[in-house]
């Protein structure tokens, strides 16, 4: 398949549901950020915080794992379009901040996934990695989806 056709195929698939590729990314990113919020909440619960939440034990861990997996899946089409079709761009401050944060997001994710499996690391490492991950996603959402919803249109 010629390289240029990949963009056309992706656009055809996405616009079968959404009005444009940009609208699709805005909603996928919103889903990922909402799931990241679930991630932060359940992680805090696992670390003994937010005692008012009724959930505890294995249920919290399961929700944490599955919200993470789903959030990762939602980021994949966004990553594909941003990185392989649009590329790194700096026409203005918003796009520059978005490009830099987007460049780091999977690096932070990879580091977090390694930290979560290594119990020999100091106790602050995992919460620090998790919060860095959630903050990076939030920054990406603020510089893309929020901008789209408030400056272009709030719709599919």
């Amino acid at each position: 398949m010629p390289l240029a056709d990949v963009n056309d195929v992706y656009t055809d698939i996405v616009t079968a549901v959404f009005s444009s590729t940009i609208a699709a990314k805005a909603w996928f990113a919103t889903a990922a950020v909402l799931l990241a919020l679930v991630q932060v909440t359940t992680a805090a619960r696992m670390w003994g915080r937010l005692g008012f939440l009724r959930m505890h034990g294995p249920a919290v861990a399961m929700v944490h794992r599955w919200s993470g997996r789903l959030a990762f899946l939602f980021t994949l089409p966004v990553f594909f379009h941003c990185v392989t079709i649009l590329g790194f761009e700096t026409p203005d401050a918003r796009v520059a901040v978005h490009s830099v944060a987007g460049t780091f997001v999977y690096g932070v994710f990879a580091a977090k996934m390694l930290i979560v499996r290594d119990r020999s690391l100091p106790g602050w490492a995992l919460p620090a990695a998790g919060l860095t991950m959630a903050s990076t996603l939030a920054l990406l959402w603020l510089t893309s989806s929020l901008w789209y919803f408030t400056n272009v249109r709030f719709g599919f």
């Binding site: 390289l3 240029a4 990949v6 963009n7 056309d8 992706y10 616009t15 009005s19 444009s20 590729t21 940009i22 609208a23 941003c82 990185v83 392989t84 079709i85 649009l86 590329g87 790194f88 026409p91 490009s99 987007g102 460049t103 780091f104 997001v105 999977y106 690096g107 932070v108 994710f109 990879a110 580091a111 977090k112 390694l114 930290i115 290594d118 020999s120 690391l121 100091p122 490492a125 990695a129 789209y148 400056n151 272009v152 249109r153």
Partner: protein, 114 residues
């Protein structure tokens, strides 16, 4: 503490790989010659179009209640720019100007190619 270098190193490598991939933008489509001549950016133009034009021409310029469809109509850059400048029918003149106009022209020309 000593083992923290490993996730940091892997994270840095993934970040670097992402940056290289983003620089290559391997699936970036080649803009049609007319769009390049218009001096606009197709992707920014899509955003401008959705903000300023889609309410009449419909999402993706496939036609709305007021504006006609623009997809597959074979418009050229000069024609699109003139319509934006002067307006047409109920379409007011100069809805967008400057770089935003160039971007919108690039987008419309790109999608109007049959």
């Amino acid at each position: 503490m000593g083992r923290l270098w490993k996730p940091v190193l892997v994270g840095a490598a993934v970040t670097a790989a992402t940056f290289v991939l983003a620089q290559l933008a391997v699936f970036e489509p080649t803009a049609p010659p007319a769009a390049t001549l218009a001096g606009g950016d197709v992707y920014r133009g899509q955003v401008v179009f959705e903000r300023e034009c889609a309410s009449c021409h419909g999402p993706g310029a496939e036609g709305g209640s007021v504006g006609p469809p623009l997809v597959d109509t074979g418009l050229d850059a000069a024609e699109v720019a003139a319509t934006i400048d002067q307006g047409r029918g109920v379409m007011p003149p100069a809805l967008v100007a400057g770089q935003e106009q160039a971007d919108a022209v690039a987008y419309v020309v790109a999608i109007s190619q049959p």
